[in-house]
Symmetry: D2
Subunit: 251 residues, 4 copies
């Protein structure tokens, strides 16, 4: 049986050495590379420049935590039932990282990439959404109604580091076009700006969510560390169980 | 109902700002903090020094990937069946991060912490294992029989950065004591040295596995990026299905 | 704060009794109800007739296992790494139950329901697929090229029990229409017939996959019982690791 | 390479037939076997008797749901974030099925099996726990303080069906011995009696939790069906987020 398919470029080890992405793990990567830089290298198959790494870290830090979200609550409740299995609690948390909470990151990147490929102007892209009855991805936030504080910061870091790419540029134009077309002010939200920045960093669209999940894994370590000291899972369950009204089917 | 239990120190947001660990996310953390530093801050509730961050990154980089392990294979096979749900593939991979592959990290830290608490010498700790019929955690590796290349690198970085703490020191003495007691040379393995370094960094024992899982999440991004371009999941399934001998029960 | 939202019709208990779906668990359900009947009751909010239960069991049995699929392999590989956490192995297996392997169940049901709602004939529904460049969901199978053995059996049980509903009827007409339009013989596959039967049983479209997952959970118990006695996970990993060609990036 | 390890007794298919546990899926199993009977066959490698199936169904029904537990809440919160991925919601729920909520099932079975292997009397087994400072597994319940309604029902069904085996017998004696030794009345709880019954049904100890997880999967279908119509996940998150007191670290 041919093993043409059984190839990997990621890693390899023998008795004396471990190789990762074609580099000696111990002498070349350990001590010289942050986890963020390694994640970039693993996906892009080349190391990031210092500027790329700085922008990527800023994006990851912006996505790491949003308080007691369903993702954090699910991880904590899972820890309540299976404290022996930290991997289960983290996995349960990440499983909530789907279309509702992390989808905007990908949707914004896909929207911008599509417009760029078709050579559309920001105004045309916005009109396309409005005519199709769709929201413009990456605009608006239920809490940060005037400005999402992450947005100007990502733009500032991207400019400082010379990383203001075509997705970030177009997203800013999209927000302006939306404002002049609709006369409504909708700020670029943090998930949208993260999606545009990740697309500018050259990651494949289907993997953008993965960077958000990596960032959330760090956030979940914080929640689980706190849960070990001050549990929310068990009292939350107790309260819900006590307050819930029982409303059985009649058939 | 009192909300004494419903408290969190992690994050909070209002219309204009997002706070994480008591710091303004946009102005204080984004652009100034790596994901690794943020993970430290979330768990230890204080930022790492530059030296601590460097050691932690070295440990995370050492743990991020080990090739086509069960963890990577499970993530890839899950992606084969559910490519629409990247979070499911990452979660499935992390779920294999249990006692067999990641347990050594925690077991070594627990063994060293126990000996330190009891004030045992390295020789006594080793004798305790031998007399109890237990292996000494953190020693020996099926592939790296003479030296695990990660071990001297972590020690070198810990020494360089002044982070050679009591767990790392004791682990080195344990390996020496084991050698003189048993006349067998067993190197300190990469998981063991990682466990000792994470314990020296002050993380709670029950969370050490979480740092290995964070590192593996980065590794899984690499595997899933590769799986998208050169799939292993589907041909692996096809080959297994074809080669498997069917051996039904007789009752 | 109003608790209008915190209501459940599922279960409730007090010091002396446990109620499930408005029935006394101990006296009414235990001993009188199979797990399959309970699953029907939980979703449809009424107990199944004997005939409905028989059809549902036949569908679940047909979906429970398909050998060493990615789902089974992922569960076994996860068990290899985390044998202390059976829930992790089962969860990792189920996570592969996405669009590729279980999607056909839902896609077929959605295709049939759509045609029924629009009052389309089978021929029109088939032509709609062909003109749109889409495959007709539920037809064709890579192994069972002439006939999928599950299909006539589900139809026979549905007829015997008077449960041949509009989705199953239409699916049969769709296969015939496809044959006369394309002059190609494509059998109704097992996933398609399961989707049509589950739709006829009145389950909401978004939950159909859940019944396939329930069936697979039973299948996974078999795989994990076997894995405990005759492990495949570890030798599979060893072989893959040994055979894999390392092909690192050049940058 | 020898394929001695690549064997399975579970399933196999070719162009015309599908075989499961040595039986023709379509003609022998579908229509003649419930999902519960199939799960028994997959694990025990023989079909259950009618009496065994009845006891197993009673146990599964008793374990399927316990209201808005952490397991149900975690599944619902995961559905809130990733409604496109039902498998993720079910997996997240099952991941909470660890030592705290499902452990009693296994612990009771292990405690009883150990005593039976050592030929201990119920009184000796209870004294062993008391002297070791351990609770007797399977006794006591926070809500059902006088009697857990599931317990007499399982005993009644086991007696009716001639399935009252040595684990169930010993558990009853253990409760009596505990009462006379401690002068405290602690009822046998539902998880304990389930564990004893599953052990009497001959399942391997490491798989007992798997039957509880199979039952819970049915329960989760009910919760997710309800969540689709009357969501709890999103309003629960909103309330928690609003009520949570922010208590940041001071360093």
């Amino acid at each position: 049986m041919s093993d043409e398919w059984l190839r990997t470029g990621i890693g390899h080890s023998d008795a004396d050495s471990i190789t990762l992405m074609g580099r000696d793990l111990a002498s070349e990567l350990m001590g010289n590379t942050t986890l963020t830089e390694l994640a970039f290298l693993l996906v892009r198959r080349r190391p990031p420049t210092e500027h790329e790494a700085r922008l990527l870290d800023a994006v990851l830090v912006s996505l790491a935590d949003h308080g007691l979200t369903p993702i954090a609550l699910s991880a904590r409740l899972t820890y309540t039932g299976a404290p022996e299995s930290l991997q289960g609690a983290i996995a349960a948390g990440l499983l909530g990282g789907g279309s509702v909470f992390l989808g905007v990151v990908e949707d914004t990147a896909a929207f911008l990439s599509g417009a760029l490929e078709r050579g559309e102007s920001a105004a045309d892209a916005v009109r396309g959404c409005i005519e199709g009855g769709r929201r413009v991805p990456g605009l608006g936030h239920p809490v940060h109604k005037v400005q999402d504080p992450r947005t100007p910061r990502i733009y500032a870091i991207a400019e400082e580091t010379g990383q203001l790419g075509e997705h970030l540029r177009l997203l800013r134009e999209v927000a302006a076009a939306h404002r002049s077309i609709t006369r409504r002010e909708l700020p670029v939200n943090g998930a949208g700006v993260a999606g545009a920045a990740l697309a500018d960093l050259g990651f494949p669209p289907a993997l953008l969510r993965g960077f958000a999940l990596l960032a959330r894994t760090a956030g979940l370590l914080g929640h689980l560390a706190e849960e070990m000291e001050r549990p929310i899972g068990m009292p939350l369950y107790r309260e819900v169980d006590e307050r819930a009204v029982y409303d059985p089917p009649t058939s």
